[in-house]
């Protein structure tokens, strides 16, 4: 997300840091850089103006010029201003990591609206899956009679994830909406999630169709699905949807790409509506409550440590962690443990995802190919070893290496390489035991 911004800001910080003190003129220069960074990140021109103005005022008010660590203070100001734009203290639920969905009525109705191709159908399934985890029983339905096979797409997605889907027989959007509503009410589903057809905000007829549907079903949530790659036009479309329908929230999609996501700031600013969720991947589970704090931290290049910690918590049980610590203490880290580690890392998602969350991690050169298959190969090699070999790798001689190689379908060189990295890892573990390395690692950026 927004890597471009974080790149820029890191450069700005470095420059200010280099000068030692923040003067009136180099602050102007820094603000100029902030402006460029935001524009490059596709934040709307007007939104950028306001944002930079805010920062300038805030900075003045806080007497940055006299501050002992001006760079840090400027970053802090930019950070809190970003949090204010992206979430704001009023969105208390978001700050606590809870969604702020309004579930009212039996059934309550959620609309997903937006431009063509913003990701409404995929998001509908993700949202239903998410609500299922909240012990709700959502019903998915689509009123997209426009795009060929749109409803088929939602039906297939529902089947894949064991979600309830209702097709209906009506041929007009309004009647179909009613039919779905009745189905949900009769069968006790709540909420009813309606995936609507993609439309242009300037298409009067289609926008009117949505208004009619809204008046018929009185949804408690009208969620605008916004593509995070959108450019300057994001303000116009989201504003138009908001004016016509009175949106209740926003869902940002395709944040797993490398777009800078400035649209998030724009949309939030012009609609004033809460960004409730973020779509962060292709799989249906790649969907999370939007977190302004975390997003702002990413923008500033602080990395998404919170996200990483959460993922780690999900993937690693406390017992596992304690067992590993014990092993580390005794310096009894075996190849089996290494395999465990690899599997836990795998549970956290792809290596690329994880690296992105580390401070500075997002600045990995794009040519660095992070190959998830390498993990598979490592797994295969270790699994081709006998228990003895895994416990005491010293016994692995030339002929064992050959056997392991052919057993795992990898080359002897790869087996050697793995043993070398294992030895390296053990060495590192020794140092980690004394607990001096890790904090340093985490302080690296900013």
């Amino acid at each position: 997300m927004l890597e471009g911004l974080s790149d820029k800001f890191q450069r700005i910080v470095k420059r200010i840091r280099g000068e030692g003190t923040l003067t009136e003129s180099n602050m102007e220069e820094a603000l100029g850089e902030v402006r460029l960074a935001l524009l490059e990140a596709d934040v709307n021109v007007v939104v950028v103006k306001n944002f930079v103005e805010h920062i300038r005022e805030q900075a003045k008010g806080q007497e940055v010029l006299l501050s002992l660590t001006p760079a840090q203070q400027l970053i802090k100001i930019i950070h809190s201003e970003l949090v204010a734009v992206l979430g704001g203290p009023s969105d208390a639920a978001l700050l606590k990591g809870r969604d702020s969905l309004n579930i009212k009525g039996f059934p309550s109705v959620f609309f997903l609206v937006g431009l063509q191709g913003s990701g409404k159908t995929t998001t509908a399934a993700k949202l239903a899956l998410y609500l299922g985890k909240r012990s709700l029983t959502p019903l998915l339905a689509s009123t997209d009679l426009q795009r060929p096979a749109a409803r088929e797409q939602l039906r297939i997605l529902s089947d894949q994830h064991h979600l309830r889907y209702f097709e209906g027989k009506s041929t007009t959007v309004r009647e179909l909406g009613r039919e779905c509503f009745n189905e949900a009410r009769l069968k006790g589903f709540n909420p009813l999630i309606i995936d609507t057809a993609g439309r242009l905000h300037i298409d009067d007829a289609l926008m009117e169709e949505l208004v009619v549907l809204r008046d018929a079903l009185k949804p408690s949530e009208i969620l605008y699905v916004a593509d995070s790659m959108t450019g300057q036009d994001a303000v116009r479309s989201s504003q138009a949807f908001n004016e016509r329908l009175a949106l209740t929230g926003i869902i940002l999609t395709k944040l797993d790409g490398d777009s800078r996501g400035g649209a998030a700031l724009s949309v939030r600013e012009v609609t004033g509506k809460t960004i409730k969720f973020a779509g962060v991947g292709e799989k249906s589970g790649d969907f999370e409550v939007f977190q302004p704090e975390r997003m702002a931290s990413r923008i500033l290049g602080m990395g998404d440590l919170m996200g990483l910690i959460e993922k780690a918590e999900e993937a690693v049980s406390i017992k596992d962690a304690q067992r590993l610590q014990e092993k580390l203490r005794k310096n009894a880290f075996t190849l089996d443990d290494m395999l465990d580690q690899i599997r836990q890392v795998k549970k956290m998602g792809s290596l690329g995802d994880i690296l992105k969350m580390l401070p500075g991690g997002m600045r990995l050169p794009s040519e660095t190919d992070i190959d998830d298959r390498a993990i598979l190969h490592t797994e295969a090699i270790i699994q081709s070893m006998t228990l003895l070999e895994r416990e005491t790798p010293n016994v692995i001689d030339g002929s064992r290496r050959k056997r392991i190689a052919s057993g795992s379908g990898r080359s002897v060189q790869e087996v050697n390489q793995l043993l070398r990295s294992y030895a390296e890892m053990r060495k590192m573990m020794k140092r980690v035991r004394f607990g001096k390395r890790i904090p340093q690692l985490f302080q690296k950026s900013t």
Binding site: G117, Q146, E152, Q153, L200, M229, S237, D258, E282
Partner: protein, 302 residues
């Protein structure tokens, strides 16, 4: 390619987007004669607001500034001239048939609809067309293309979901050879350029195509949503790494977005825009012409 009515149709397609442009670049010049102190700063902002991008906007403004023009009108015509000059012209298509065109792009940019529209366009020119549903990932993508194929009455090659897209390219080529089809249009799954494995899959499709059909893919078009911001340039760069792009299709030009990113793309990669999509109907696609595109963008509605 300047068939009668082309300008009219482009104008209708761009009408709504022009209303917005009119309030930005077009309106900027209307009623202005002289050049005051904030003139160029404001002009740059209008360009930025059209997604032209910082580098391209700055270059344009700097070059205009340095020319020491005296009236807003002179700046306007010079700006138009320079913007037209940035956009490369599409090269004509070759004569070897069958001709395979690969349509690639990120999720939701409009690939499937574009394949159908271009299929219709080629068919209306008297060519035979075969559609290949190589998007085996997105649920119902194959069905969507099949419905289009039915509507257009052209053959389609598809398999179940999860099939190897490269195998579909293979099947498509065999089918086209057997039925002596002129154009094979391959719809691929949407992929974000950050997904290495999906980009590798695309490479494989290209390899299979060139192995089975000399010179294929004859064209690889990146489908670009006109609403996209600066990431559009990144998309071009990254897709270019996997499959050499020959051009761009700019979709959703019937909205308020202006697709200004094509100027950045043209400057850096010299990629021509081949077609623009201006609506949801099958006939809503037009061959691209730089002069008319720029002219239409600047036109001030009376």
């Amino acid at each position: 390619m300047e068939n009668p009515g082309f300008l009219d149709r482009l104008k209708t397609g761009l009408q709504r987007s022009r209303e917005k442009v009119a309030s930005s670049i077009g309106a900027f010049f209307s009623g202005r004669t002289g050049i005051d102190s904030t003139f160029f700063t404001e002009l740059e902002e209008r360009l930025l607001a059209a997604d032209v991008g910082i580098a391209a906007s700055q270059r344009l403004v700097i070059s205009l500034r340095s020319m020491k023009l005296e009236t807003a009108g002179e700046v306007l015509s010079e700006l138009k001239r320079q913007m037209v000059a940035i956009l490369p012209r599409a090269s004509g298509s070759g004569s070897a048939f069958p001709r395979l065109t690969l349509f690639v792009g990120v999720n939701g940019c409009g690939k499937t609809t574009t394949v159908a529209k271009i299929g219709r366009l080629l068919k209306s020119e008297g060519k035979s067309v075969l559609l290949v549903a190589a998007d085996t990932f997105r649920a119902a993508a194959g069905e969507q293309l099949e419905i289009w194929a039915d509507r257009l009455d052209v053959p389609v090659v598809r398999q179940g979901s999860g099939a190897d897209p490269a195998a579909l390219v293979f099947d498509g080529i065999q089918a086209a050879k057997a039925r002596s089809i002129d154009h094979i249009l391959v719809d691929t799954a949407g992929r974000l350029q950050t997904k290495k494995h999906l980009m590798a899959e695309l490479e494989k499709m290209g390899r299979v195509a060139s192995r089975e059909l000399p010179g294929a893919p004859h064209a690889t078009l990146l489908v670009l949503d006109a609403t996209v911001g600066q990431n559009g340039l990144v998309q071009c760069r990254e897709f270019q790494q996997s499959v050499p792009l020959t051009g761009i299709v700019l979709t959703k030009m019937d909205g308020t977005a202006k697709g200004g990113i094509v100027f950045s793309i043209a400057e850096e990669l010299r990629l021509p825009v081949e077609y623009i999509g201006v609506g949801e109907k099958a006939e809503d696609v037009l061959p691209f012409s730089p002069d008319i595109f720029v002219e239409a963008l600047f036109e001030n509605r009376s």
